[in-house]
Each structure stands twice: as structure tokens, then as C-alpha cells.
Amino acid sequence: MPVPTEPARVCAATRTEGGRLEVDLSGEWRISDHPPAWADILGDQKPESVRFNAAGLGSWDTSILLFLLEARVGCKKIGVECDIASLPEKMRLLLEQFEATLKTGGRREQGENLLTTVGLATEHATSNLRGILNFVGECVLSATRFPGRAKKFRWGDCLDQMQECGAMSLPIVSLISFLVGLTFAYQAAVELRQFGADIFVADVVGLSVVREMGPMMAAVILAGRTGAAFAATIGNMKANEEIDALEVIGLSPIDFLVLPRILALALMMPLLALYANCVGILGGMVVARAILQIPATAYWVETQSSIDLTDLNSGLIKATTFGLLIGLSGCLRGLQAERSAAGVGRATTSAVVTAILLIIVADAIYAVVFHALGI
């Protein structure tokens, strides 16, 4: 049985003829082998010119082009003439193409210096802001058109979305709200027990859940669940030209896609927040009963005495706002998505990040406003 022979190794031998450095290329040049470095071959030599010969060259691929390109650039740098006339014509053509791509450089990454980076970032930020304002403006216009278009409104889509973001979210909202109530109760119990004020765990849990954590946790869950789904669906529709098809028949994507979704979220969010409040209080009650031995009835009475309608309303106002923000973020990012799978992925991520950011900003604004109003 014949033993397979090793291919002749890549070789670039040098010899000097007068002031000229002759580089004899031989062997099998493969991209999987490491090509020799031009700097090593040249060493300390300072020839007047360099000539490449390929008489003993076997098969070759891009690796030899890489080597030759490095050599040509190196020669140019030290002002030495580089003669490739004796190389095969196909190799010379490819080398020229290779050099041309280096010159044009394709589509380089922008922002190579600070000023360019700052300028581009500013332009990006202003265009992003303009996009958001345009979108919000269009949504407001669409809402004003709503009474005249109520018959043509996509009620079916709206109900589907309400089911999707409302009923279908109940399990995860239940779990998270219960755990939040439970955690709050534990934290409060440790401190309040030292003062014999165990019963006030109900106040702490009740107030914090109803005013803050119920709407907030429901909103964060929906931002990740529904906001991302909105962005992915609309982004996919954009990539498949479905949005273009709507525009060509004179149908506004805002009327058709965005408004039903935002309306569904704005209606479902307060209901989900109410539900989250109840489950959160239940979580606190379980801890109070198990750790502090507070009877459920006493806990409930204390909760009722600590929460009034103003607290509940402030939470529901927040929840409605959060719903609008999640819907707007999801739909906006979906409509802004690039027409590719990666673009849809980025839009989905961006929708969640934008929604959570806006929720926190809105919550902070409400905190200041409610404090100023004494609510």
C-alpha cells in the first residue's frame, strides 16, 4: 500500500544577485499552513530591489497572496522596487484585486476619531429622538381618528392582544407578585419584630405593593413578555414587506397594528396591577402567618386600614401609563427594525430595554408629582 507523502512545505528561499534579492517561491501553499513572515525573510538585508520567482511553485491559494501582499507593502515602506513580473498571470491578477480591496477598504467602521464618534452619536441620538416624537405624534393622530374609524378598528386583533397580554400573563404575574410580597414581608418582619411592631408588616407590604411594586412588577413582566413580542411580530412583518403592503393599500400601520396593541395593553395593565396587588398582599400574609403568627384576619384588617383609595388609584394611574409606554416601545422598535433576522432580534432587545427605562423614568416622575400633590 502506497504511503501518502507529505506535501512539500511552503518555502520562500532567498538569494542575492547584485543588489537584487531573488525570492524563490516553492512548495505547496495552503491557507491552513502558516505562511512565512516577510520581515523574517528580509531580515537585516537592504536590497536595491526584490524579485519573486515561482518556477518551483506547486499548488497555491490565498496564503501566497497574503505573503506577497505583505512583501509588497513592506517593500513600498522602505522604498524598494518589488518585481512580480515572473509570477503567474492569474496570481498577479488576484494580487491586484487584493491590493484594490485594501485601497477601497470596503465599508469601514465609522467613528475613528473622537469628533467623528461624538458627531455620529449626536446624529444618531437626534434622529432617534425625532423618530420617537414622530411615532408618538402619529399615534396621537391615529387615536383622534379612532372615533371615525371605530367600525373599521381591528377589534378582533385588540381582543386577541388583550387575551395574550392579560390572561396569558397571569401565571408569571402571580408567581412574581407573590414572591415580591413574600420578600417584602420577610425584610419588614426582621426590623419590625425588634420593636414589637409585627402587625405593621401588613402596612409595609400593603402600601409598597399597591403604590409601587404591584404596577412596577406587572409592567416589567409585560415589558419582557409582551413588549418583546410586539417588536418581534412587527419587525418580522417589516422584514417580510407586510408593512409595505399595508401602506400601498393606503392603510396606516399605526391604525392597523399599533393602536389595537397599545389599547389592549393600556386596558389590561391596570387589571393586571390590581391582580398583582392582591397576590402580593397574599404573599405578605403567608409570611406574617407563618413567621410572625399574625392571624390572617388581623393582617387583612391592618392592610385595609393602611391603604386608601388614593393609594390604589395612584398605582392604577401608574399601571395605565406603564402599559402605554410598553406598547409604544414595542411597536416603535418593531417598526424601526432592520429588514433582517438580526435586525428583528436587535429590535426585540431594544424594545425591552426602552420599555424598562421608560417605566423607571415615569415612576420617578410620578413619585415627584405625587409627593408635590400630597398624594
Partner: protein, 264 residues
Amino acid sequence: MPIAESATSPARAPSETAIEVDGLECSYGGVDILKDVTFKVGRGESVFIIGPSGCGKTTLLRNIVGLNRPRNGTVKFLGQLFSSADVAARRLLLRNFGMLFQSGALWTSMTLRQNVSLPLEEHTSLTRNQIEEIANLKLAQVGLGGFEDYYPSEISGGMKKRAGLARALALDPAIVFFDEPWAGLDPITSRKLNALIRQIRDTFGTTLVIVSHELGPIFSIADRVIMLDRDARGIIAQGPPRQLAESSTDERVKEFLNREVNTT
């Protein structure tokens, strides 16, 4: 030279202008693609926008139908300004044309019947029953009778194109735009679609504007071709395809239209 039957359609000799594009300049991603594009399409005329890949055919089409905003220039449909019309005027004009997208662009959450019905729901005051009857008829016209309750994900690429065509024809538009209608179709399905487009033109005298570089349909459907070129960033030739193929002095035009002969 590709052999195909000669383009003949009723309502030859277009007397009125269906589309008027004047000095259109289009860009994409900040890069100028087309400059000073000017042409007219008569009523009932079948015009192909042709040219090599990347020359701006689809960009031109998107700018004409208002999906992209041109940097400069105007587009008129049936004598009325479209490119800078307000929303209400634009919506009225949109009733006059349909568009078949390259992918079909069917709304995936709707059945084929619902897809075809939507333009009718938006632009007419017909009853639900009447709309459904028209949708069924349009689907039958494109050979999709019996598939009315299928979703786009349940049908083949060729069927999606035909369903897209049924939707484009829902409002019996005066003008239909096609973006690469034969792209990605096998030869038999292509031929069926070709026949369908000819049938629409012959039956209704619909104005057709088709972006494509398929030679067969160009010679069998087009009254006129408008050829774009990437380097020229605009129109380099327009006229009847056979005439251009035989007598154009521009090498690019001759090479494009005679490429089945010049296989090297």
C-alpha cells in the same frame, strides 16, 4: 435572441398618461442611487423596468409607489400629483393601484380570503358578504379557488405570489406594479404567472409596471422597457424591447437583451 411571442395587448396606442415620473432622484442609506429619472407610462401600457442587479430598479419602484420618499422630483398618477400629495389625496390615489411584492408580502396572521378582503374593507362600503364573494372570485381568477381559508404559511411560494396578485387586483386597479414577480419561481410556475399577468392585461387593459430581468416575460409582455444602469445612475435606454435588442447602439442594452445568444 430569445424566442417569445410578440407583445400584443388590447387598448394598444395608449392615449392617456397613467404614470408620469419627472426628474426623480432617489437615494438609499444616504447614497444617491438614481438621478433625474423621467418617463411616462400610458394607460394600458406594459412597461418593464430592467437593468443589472443593484442598479436601483426596486428603489425606483418604491419611490414611485410612495414607500420611499424621493429626494427630488415628482410622481403623478392619472394626471394627479402623488409624491407630495397630502394623506387624504394620497389615499384616494392609492385606490387606483395595486402592488405585487417580491415575496408576496401576504399578512401572515390572516387567511387568503382575509388578505384579499382587506383592501375592499378599507376602500369600499360593500357588505361583508359582497366583500367575501369578491375575494373568492379574485382568488379563483388566480387559480386559488378552494384555498380561501388557508394561511400563507400553509401554501407554496408560487401560490403566495398568486394570492398576492389576487390582493393587488382586489380593487380592480388601473395600474398594477410588480416587483420581481418571477423571482424564486420554477419555470412551470413562472410560465403560469406569466400567462396570468398577460390575461389581466388583456382582459382589463390594466397598466402594468414590472421590475424584472427575466427575458421571456420582457419579450412576451412588455410594450416598452426602461433600462437603468448603476454607473449612469439613471435611464440609459427606453423603447420596445425587440427594437432595443436589435438596433440599440448601447452595448450594455444589447448585451442585456441578447444575453441568451451571447452566452460567453
